[in-house]
C-alpha cells in the first residue's frame, strides 16, 4: 500500500504546515481523469508526466526535481474547486496545471487567483477565462485566433463566395466556436446563406442538410464535436452535397475518420499543433510519447507537454527561497517572460485586456496550423 502511505504522509506534511522538502518543486495537476472529459484529461496528464520525467532525467530544474501531485477533478466544477483548494492549502504546490474544461476553470480559477497561485490551463479555449485575474494563464490557443486563419485560407483556396453554417447549440464549446465563426464571417464579409443547429446526441442531420443544399452554398462551416461532425459530413455526401467543409477545433480528433472514412476530403481545419510539424522539439515529443504510452499523442498532450516546458523555463529563472507565498509570486512574475519553441512551435504569452479596470491573466500568442483532409488523413496545408 505504497500509494496509501504516500498519500497519508502528504496529508500529514500538509497538516503540520511543513514546506516542501528542499530540492523538490511541487506542482499540482488537476485534470479530469474520470467521467466524460477524461478523453481530454488523460492525454493531458500523460503530456505533463512525459515532460516532467524528461526534465528530471536531465537533472531537474537548477538541480531541483519536479514532483507532480496529480488529482482527478472529474470535469465537475465543485470537484475542481475542491481539488484546487487541496493542492493550494494542503499539498502546498508552487502552481497548478488544469483544470480540463473551461467551465471548471471559471469555477476554480478565482480560487487560485485569490490565493495568489498560478492556475495554468492547457485546454481551456473559452473566451473570458483569463479575465478571472493575473494568476490565470493558458497556452491553449483561443478559437478567435485560429478560425480567422482557417476561414481566410479556405476562402482563398476554394474561391468561396457564400457559406452555410451548422453548429451544436447546447454545448459551450461548439456554441462559442459558432460565435467566433459568425464574427469572422462578418469581418471577412462572406454572406451566410442559412444557419442551422442541432443538439448533442443527434444522429440524423438530413433535415438541416436538405435546407442547406437548397441555398446552394460554396462551403459549409461546421462548429461541432468530432462524433457529430463526422455524421454531418457523411450525410451531406449522401444527399449529394459535394461542397467542402470548414471545421472548428472539435474536428481535431482521430474519431473523425472512424465514421466519415474518406467522405471528409478537402475539409479545412485549424489547429495549434501539427503531428507532422518537422521542428525538432515536436519530432522528439511525438516519438517519446509513442514510446512511453504506446499510442499517438494528440493536440491536448502536446499542449500539456509544452506547458510543463514553459513552467520549467520560468522556474529556472526563479530563486526558490522556501517561503511559499514569495516563491509562488516569483513564479507568477517569471512566467510571462518565457518564450520557447516547443511541440506546438514558437510560443509566448500575451496579457489579456483588463476587465473592469482589473488586470487580466495571460493568453497564448501563437500561430495556428491549417490542415486539409486528404485520403482520410490530416495533411498540413502548404498552399497547394
Amino acid at each position: 500500500m505504497n500509494r496509501v502511505s504516500k498519500h497519508f504522509s502528504l496529508a500529514l506534511a500538509g497538516l503540520l504546515a511543513v514546506t516542501a522538502v528542499a530540492g523538490d518543486l511541487k506542482i499540482g495537476v488537476a485534470e479530469a481523469l474520470t467521467g466524460g472529459a477524461a478523453q481530454y484529461g488523460v492525454p493531458i496528464r500523460n503530456g505533463f508526466q512525459l515532460a516532467a520525467d524528461e526534465i528530471n532525467a536531465k537533472g531537474g530544474v537548477n538541480g531541483n526535481k519536479l514532483v507532480l501531485v496529480i488529482e482527478d477533478e472529474q470535469g465537475k466544477k465543485e470537484e475542481a474547486i475542491n481539488v484546487f483548494k487541496k493542492l493550494i492549502f494542503q499539498d502546498k504546490v508552487l502552481m497548478i496545471f488544469g483544470p480540463t474544461l473551461s467551465n471548471s476553470m471559471f469555477a476554480a480559477g478565482p480560487v487560485a487567483n485569490a490565493a495568489k497561485v498560478v492556475a495554468f490551463g492547457t485546454s481551456n479555449t473559452a473566451n473570458g477565462i483569463t479575465e478571472v485575474g493575473p494568476y490565470v494563464f493558458r497556452n491553449s490557443v483561443m478559437e478567435s485566433d485560429v478560425l480567422p486563419v482557417t476561414v481566410s485560407t479556405a476562402v482563398k483556396h476554394y474561391k468561396i463566395k457564400k457559406v452555410a453554417v451548422i453548429y451544436g447549440n447546447d454545448d459551450a464549446f461548439t456554441k462559442s466556436g459558432y460565435d467566433v465563426f459568425k464574427k469572422v464571417l462578418e469581418d471577412q464579409k462572406i454572406p451566410v446563406t442559412t444557419t442551422e443547429t442541432y443538439v448533442k446526441g443527434d444522429v440524423d442531420f438530413k433535415a438541416q442538410l436538405t435546407k442547406i443544399k437548397a441555398t446552394n452554398p460554396d462551403a459549409i462551416i461546421c462548429s461541432g464535436l468530432a462524433e457529430e461532425a463526422a455524421n454531418i459530413i457523411v450525410q451531406a455526401r449522401g444527399l449529394g452535397l459535394k461542397v467542402p467543409f470548414i471545421g472548428g477545433n472539435g474536428f481535431n480528433s482521430p474519431k473523425m475518420f472512424e465514421v466519415s472514412k474518406t467522405a471528409g476530403e478537402g475539409t479545412f481545419v485549424g489547429s495549434p499543433w501539427a503531428n507532422t510539424n518537422p521542428n525538432a522539439a515536436n519530432q522528439h515529443f511525438v516519438a517519446a510519447y509513442k514510446a512511453k504510452y504506446g499510442s499517438d499523442p494528440n493536440q491536448f498532450a502536446a499542449q500539456a507537454y509544452d506547458a510543463m516546458t514553459i513552467a520549467a523555463a520560468a522556474l529556472k529563472t526563479v530563486k526558490i527561497t522556501g517561503n511559499l507565498p514569495a516563491d509562488r509570486q516569483a513564479l507568477q512574475e517569471a512566467l510571462p517572460k518565457v518564450s520557447i519553441t516547443g511541440a506546438t512551435g514558437p510560443f509566448k504569452f500575451r496579457q489579456a485586456a483588463p476587465k473592469d479596470g482589473k488586470p487580466s491573466g495571460y493568453d497564448a500568442d501563437q500561430k495556428p496550423f491549417i490542415y486539409v483532409i486528404r485520403d482520410g488523413k490530416f495533411v498540413l496545408f502548404t498552399g497547394k
Binding site: R3, V4, H7, F8, G14, L15, A17, L33, T34, E71, D72, K77, E78, I81, N82, K85, K86, I88, F89, Q90, N103, F106, A107, G109, P110, A126, G128, E131, V132, N169, D170, D171, A172, K175, S176
Partner: protein, 290 residues
C-alpha cells in the same frame, strides 16, 4: 488553530456543499412527505440559482435580497405548473416533473440573458458559512414544526391514503400544492447559495442527473425523519472526497457502498423505528439472562 485554519482553507467548499445538498435533500423530503415523487427539484434549484445570480450580477442587489428572489421565483413557477401536474400521481407525476425539468434546462440553454450553454461566470463570492448554517437551521426547525402541525399531519394522511384523507375533509389539492411549492422554495434557496460560492453556473448542472442525485441522497438517508436526508446528503458528498486516495477506483467503491446500503437497509440509513426495535431487542435479551 493553525491546523484548523489549514483544514478550513482546504475543505470549506466541501463543507458548504454538504449544507447545500442537505437543503436539497430536505426540499425533496418535504414533497415526498406528501406522497409526491417529484423530479423537478433540480430545475427549481436552477431557477433559484439563475435568478439570484442575475440579480447580483446585473442589478447589484444585496445578497439577502437576491436570496429572497431565488426563493420567490421557483415558488411562482411551482404554483403555475403545480396546479395542472399535481393531479397526477406516482410514476406519472415523476414523468411530468421530469419533463418540466428538461423544459426548464432547454429554456435556460436557449435564452440570451442566461448566457446559453456557456452559462454565467464571474458570480461574486457572497455565500459564507453563516448563511448556510442559519438557513439550514431555520429550514430544519421549520420542517420539524410543520411535521408535528396540522399541515404535516395532513401531508402524512395524504401520503398514506389519498381517498381516506379526502373523506376526512382534507383539501388534497391545496395541500399537495403547498408541499410542492415549499419544496421549490428550499431548492431555489439552495441553488442561490450554491451559485454564490462556485463563481459559475451552467444549464447542465440542473438536469436529470442532478434530479436523481437529490433523490438518491434523500432515499439513502431515509425518509422517515428529518435526520435521514441530512445524513444521506452528508455521506454522498463526503464519501467521494474521503476516498480520494483510492484514485481511479473511488467511484466504483462509492457505487458499491450505495448498492450495499440499499440492499441491506431498504428504508434508508436512518430509520428511527429500526433503532427503537434494536434497543428493545437488546433490553429483552439482557432481561432474559439469568
Amino acid at each position: 488553530m493553525a491546523a484548523f485554519a489549514d483544514f478550513w482553507a482546504t475543505y470549506s467548499t466541501l463543507v458548504y456543499s454538504v449544507g447545500i445538498h442537505a437543503l436539497l435533500a430536505l426540499s425533496l423530503w418535504l414533497t415526498l412527505s406528501c406522497g409526491l415523487l417529484s423530479l423537478a427539484n433540480a430545475a427549481f434549484m436552477g431557477i433559484g440559482a439563475y435568478t439570484a445570480a442575475l440579480l447580483t450580477l446585473n442589478l447589484h442587489w444585496p445578497f439577502p435580497a437576491a436570496l429572497l428572489g431565488g426563493a420567490v421565483a421557483p415558488a411562482v413557477v411551482a404554483l403555475i405548473i403545480g396546479a395542472p401536474t399535481l393531479r397526477l400521481s406516482g410514476v406519472y407525476l415523476a414523468m411530468a416533473t421530469l419533463a418540466f425539468g428538461e423544459v426548464t434546462r432547454i429554456l435556460i440553454l436557449n435564452l440570451q440573458i442566461t448566457g446559453g450553454p456557456e452559462g454565467l461566470n464571474g458570480i461574486p463570492l457572497l455565500t459564507t458559512g453563516w448563511y448556510i448554517v442559519v438557513i439550514l437551521a431555520v429550514a430544519g426547525y421549520g420542517l420539524a414544526r410543520i411535521r408535528r402541525s396540522r399541515l404535516g399531519r395532513a401531508f402524512e394522511a395524504i401520503r398514506e391514503d389519498e381517498v381516506a384523507a379526502r373523506l376526512m375533509g382534507i383539501n388534497v389539492e391545496s395541500h399537495k400544492l403547498a408541499a410542492f411549492t415549499l419544496g421549490a422554495v428550499l431548492a431555489g434557496v439552495a441553488g442561490a447559495l450554491n451559485a454564490h460560492f462556485t463563481f459559475f453556473i451552467s444549464p447542465r448542472e440542473y438536469g436529470f442527473e442532478n434530479a436523481v442525485d437529490i433523490l438518491t441522497m434523500t432515499i439513502l438517508g431515509g425518509t422517515t425523519s428529518l435526520i435521514g436526508p441530512v445524513l444521506g446528503a452528508s455521506i454522498l458528498t463526503l464519501l467521494p472526497e474521503l476516498m480520494r486516495f483510492l484514485h481511479a477506483y473511488r467511484l466504483a467503491v462509492n457505487g458499491l457502498i450505495l448498492v450495499v446500503v440499499v440492499l441491506f437497509l431498504p428504508t434508508g440509513l436512518w430509520d428511527a423505528r429500526r433503532f427503537r426495535q434494536l434497543l428493545k431487542n437488546r433490553r429483552a435479551r439482557k432481561g432474559g439472562q439469568p
